[in-house]
Every structure is written in C-alpha cells, then in structure tokens.
C-alpha cells in the first residue's frame, strides 16, 4: 500500500532509510523544522538549515522516488531565546515561496513556558499574515495535556485561525478529543516508547473515527522508526480493516490537509517518475 509519512525528520536519517521507506510503499514525506539536538547560535544557522530542508532534502528523497515537502519555524525548545526566535521568524518569508514548503511548523510548546507562548503566538501571526498552513508540536510527557490545552487556548484567541488549516500533532488518548472538538486536524506519532504504539493508534481510530486524522513516524535522531507507518497499516489489516479505509488514514488524509497549501504539488505514484539525477555525488 502506498503511504505518506506526514511528519518525519529525514535530515537526521541516512539515505538508506529513504530507500527502505520507498520499498515499503512510502511515496511522500513532509518534514517539519525541529531541534537539532543543540541550540543554534545565529539566524544564519537557521538559514542554512532551511536551505537544506528546501533544496537538498527534496533532491535526496528523489533518489528513492519519494516526494519531499517541508515546514519552517524555530522550534519550541529554542524559543526560550526570544531575540533569536524573532530574527528567525523575520527571516522565514525568504523561504515561503520555495517549492514544497507547506507552511509554518512544527511550532508549539515544550515546557509550557511564557517565552514559548510568546514565540508560538508570533508564529501564528506570521502564518495568518502569509496565509500558511500550521503544523503544531505538543509536549512529550506529563506536560502534554496542559500544553495541548494551552495551545488550543492560544489558537482560539485569534479569530483569523481556521481550525481546518491547523494540524495538532502527537495527540494521544487524553488529547485527541481536545483537538477534534474544536475542528482541528490531528496526527498520532508512532514511537517505540513515548507517544503512540501502532496498536494504541489503531484503538484511537476505532474510538474517534478516521476523519481529519493521520499517523506519522516522526523519525529523527533519537529512538524512532521511519518505517512505523507500515506497522500501523499491518495492525489495521490484522483487525480486518478494508484497504480503502486504511488508505484514507495513511494516504488520502495527509493529501487532503496538505492541499490547503498552494505550493502542494503532488504527483500520484502511478504517474510519478523519478526525475532526479541518475548519479549520486556525495562529495
């Protein structure tokens, strides 16, 4: 089955992962900007990162026939540096007309601090001013419930925010209902220890339905599995779900949401041809 991984940090993964994902049916990925494992020291550090996301990663993905899209922001961990965050937010529009950029993300909260809230609101302001889709990171463990509610509170403060153009990510049993009640899109992340397992994600689909929801691997430089979406597909197959119903979650829904971006130009896999260079030069 073809699938779309709507949240995976391929910059942290090796080219072999693209190849393995493609062999398991992955036809496209979207990659939000995130924390590199250390706090970057300057706006130029982010400018180089955004160039890598918007220029080199689509090329590298193309070597395996995978279509690559991206999201831009300064992540919540680095939002404690408000001055740098504001410089990055001011610089983001340089990249908003690049092919494959879907919007602002993954913005959100990490430890639910006042500075994180300040920078989250300023990202929302940017997204509203530039009419961009939004992809939201919610906190990881004990702070997820509180942080998700605070994020939704801040989104609802702004009358310009259309919930149908906001995707709240990393939802679990205690937060999926909060996102859906207000009409937001949401996504479940399949991780080895934290967030969701494939079976719990399938349980959430059974309890909340398959509208405005998707699953992702959020594969990154930590413990994670970029082929987690196929594990979810297998879980639903074991439960007897029709292929068309599974496809809706892992393929149709991401495409429906991302189609809200005018730069989302997706070529269905039955007509997609790898147009990347036949030679791979790593030097």
């Amino acid at each position: 089955m073809y699938f779309f991984d709507p949240h995976v940090h391929m910059i942290s993964r090796v080219t072999d992962d693209y190849e393995r994902m493609a062999r398991m049916g992955c036809v496209a990925v979207s990659e939000p900007a995130f924390w590199a494992g250390f706090d970057r020291g300057s706006v130029d550090g982010f400018r180089d990162y955004f160039r890598q996301l918007t220029e080199f990663e689509p090329t590298r993905a193309g070597w395996s026939g995978v279509q690559h899209y991206s999201w831009l922001c300064i992540n919540a961990k680095e939002a404690e540096n408000v001055e740098l965050s504001r410089e990055v937010i001011a610089m983001i529009p340089e990249f908003l007309d690049k092919p494959g950029v879907l919007g602002i993300g993954e913005i959100g909260l990490n430890k639910n601090t006042p500075n994180e809230c300040t920078i989250f609101r300023e990202h929302i302001e940017l997204a509203m001013r530039t009419n961009e889709l939004i992809l939201i990171h919610t906190p990881h463990l004990d702070d997820k419930y509180k942080g998700t509610r605070m994020i939704i509170d801040m989104l609802l403060e702004d009358d310009r925010v259309d919930p149908g153009r906001v995707l709240i990510d990393h939802v679990e049993e205690h937060t999926v209902g909060l996102a859906r009640e207000e009409g937001f899109w949401c996504a479940m992340t399949l991780y080895p220890l934290t967030k969701c397992t494939p079976s719990r994600a399938a349980d959430i689909i059974e309890m909340y339905g398959d509208e405005r929801i998707m699953v992702n691997s959020a594969g990154d430089w930590g413990p994670s599995n970029p082929t987690a979406v196929p594990d979810f597909i297998m879980e639903l197959r074991r439960r007897g779900y029709a292929e068309s119903r599974i496809k809706k979650i892992v393929y149709d829904n991401p495409i429906e949401y991302f189609s809200g971006s005018e730069r989302f130009e997706f070529t269905a896999p039955d007509v997609f041809r790898d147009t990347a260079s036949s030679g791979i030069d790593t030097e």
Binding site: D143, Y145, E173, H174, D203, D210, G240
Partner: protein, 84 residues
C-alpha cells in the same frame, strides 16, 4: 469506526500481550524492591502514581488508557491566558 472483531477475537489476539505486559510490570517492580534503599521508593511520587495506575487497570470501564494518561499529566488551569 468501530472494530469489526468480536470481543472474543480481540481477547484471543491480545491475551499474550497482556500477560507479557503484566510480567514486565511485576519483574520491574521486583527489581526496584530488590535494590538497596527500596524503602525510600515508597515515598516517591512516581511510585504512588504507578500504584494509582495499577488501580485504574483493575477497575471497570472503557477509557483506562485515557485515565492513566491524565494521571501522569500536569494540571491545567483554565483562564491561564486571561491577563495576557
């Protein structure tokens, strides 16, 4: 989007997973209790939360996972942003 499987079919599929999970819980708690100073863990807030989680597991209902998530969550105060 309810499951097409009966409770009996689901139980057959998850029985060994539940059994394995219980063994992991039991062995992990035993390992803690074998350690030096294990009596100090009794006052650890995290240990108390685990005990509360075990009580949720043994209770009836269909939202045990959500209850456990809330148990391990920081409290939220509505109106936190009223003065922002």
């Amino acid at each position: 989007m309810p499951s097409s499987q009966s409770a009996s079919e689901v139980f057959d599929q998850v029985y060994l997973d539940i059994r394995a999970g219980l063994l992991v819980l039991g062995a992990s708690l035993d390992r803690v209790d074998r350690g030096e100073g294990s009596e100090l863990i009794e006052g650890d807030l995290r240990r108390e939360k685990i005990q509360s989680g075990l009580e949720i597991l043994s209770s009836p209902g269909q939202n045990r996972a959500e209850q456990i998530q809330v148990l391990f969550s920081d409290p939220y105060q509505s109106g936190w942003n009223a003065d922002d």
